[in-house]
Symmetry: C2
Subunit: 238 residues, 2 copies
């Protein structure tokens, strides 16, 4: 049985040290981008077009796309809605193409697009995602979107949950210290995940802006089987 290597990259700032054109890259931004993307696909969005800059977001809106866009938790004034997963209802997104730009999550998608596959991970699709990854029989790099190039606790813990599942399959091996750290953090957090997340900086940021209503939902396992994948610059469901 082949064992492929498993790595975690805690911040997009270090992605160049992990990038590999043969790897499956899993992007995790629990609060809130990748949870929102999984929700959108669960609710039937046809595609999501990640755009990195505010200028590109404005241009996509002008071209007639539905636009979900935020910076630092605030909805861009010309956007249709922001980055809460609760915005991506079937009523709003089913069958639509949505342009999407967020503080941390969408930039790394552009960076990672040279890799073999780029898929979107969250607690919401964790089991389906891990099963699919295991079938690929490839090196895996899990990338935490973090916060403005910094480490984020909520992404690291979710990365640890994914890593544990992949290692348990026996199909992966690791010499990556981030994997050991993330699985240990997940081990500490798992008994009371929401309680552990009380100390996360992003938890405080969202609370201050009245945007923390989605935190329990974003830490719910296996709400959907969708696996959003980057294909030709767009996210589509596998």
């Amino acid at each position: 049985m082949t064992q492929n290597s498993l790595e975690i990259c805690f911040t997009p700032a270090a992605f160049d040290a992990h990038a590999d054109s043969e790897a499956v890259v899993v992007i995790i931004d629990v609060l809130r981008a990748t949870s929102s993307i999984c929700t959108a696909f669960a609710n039937g969005v046809s595609e999501i077009i990640p755009v990195a800059t505010v200028a590109e977001a404005r241009e996509m809106k002008a071209r007639g796309f539905l636009l979900a866009a935020e910076r630092d938790g605030y909805v861009l004034e010309f956007a249709d809605f922001g980055n809460s997963p609760f915005n991506f209802t079937a009523e709003k997104v089913k069958g639509k193409s949505v342009a999407y730009s967020t503080t941390n999550g969408t930039g790394i998608m552009k960076q990672a697009s040279e890799c073999h596959d780029v898929v979107i991970g969250s607690y919401l699709n964790l089991s389906a995602l891990c099963s699919w990854i295991i079938e690929q029989d490839r090196k895996v790099v899990i990338v935490c979107a973090g916060w403005k190039r910094r480490f984020s606790l909520e992404d690291a813990v979710c990365a640890g949950a994914v890593a544990e599942r992949l290692l348990e399959s026996g199909r992966f091996t690791t010499i990556c210290d981030s994997v050991h750290a993330a699985t240990d953090l997940w081990g500490k957090a798992r008994g009371d995940l929401l309680g552990y997340m009380e100390k996360a900086a992003q938890r405080s940021r969202l609370r201050e802006k009245g945007l923390d209503d989605c935190i329990p939902y974003c830490h719910t396992f296996d709400v959907t089987d969708v696996i959003p994948v980057l294909s030709g610059g767009k996210l589509v469901a596998l």
Copy 2:
């Protein structure tokens, strides 16, 4: 009582997100650069001149400096010795100026030199270092040297030990997720620090090269009271 902010940066790749000209920066590279530097000062070296590139290292040797230099654990062929703390004996370094270049530890010193103070941390000088830091009444950023822009477990755990000590003083506050992660990792490791470090990638790298003899020493608390500090591009004892 003023409470200053405390941050940890897990990799030099993300240093720009933490850099602050008003901050005290603590550089940690447990295996082996900062442990070796502390040992050198404990043994009476007069100054250490960090140089980032192999070309600069060669030039310093040509200019007559004693040269300690390695890449990936191997001593550069024109160097006097490599990066084991056991090389920096009083016999070799007492009263000398040593030029010093390592894979990970010395590059970040150049990056951090714009900050208010840059000091060298390790388990070997942990108590003296923390007491001095607390007296400064300034923001603190602990930077883990990591491994080639990646996260390193041994540096993160030591950063957690320093962070715990600083937070216990009551003089610091943090909204930095890396601090929470590092202190949790330190909490998990502290009961059997060497046992925990068995899984660290750098532990395996050093073992493969027969360079792991220094690992127990590098995880020994409070061998010395020296606090090496960067001053005008050189490390000197405070």
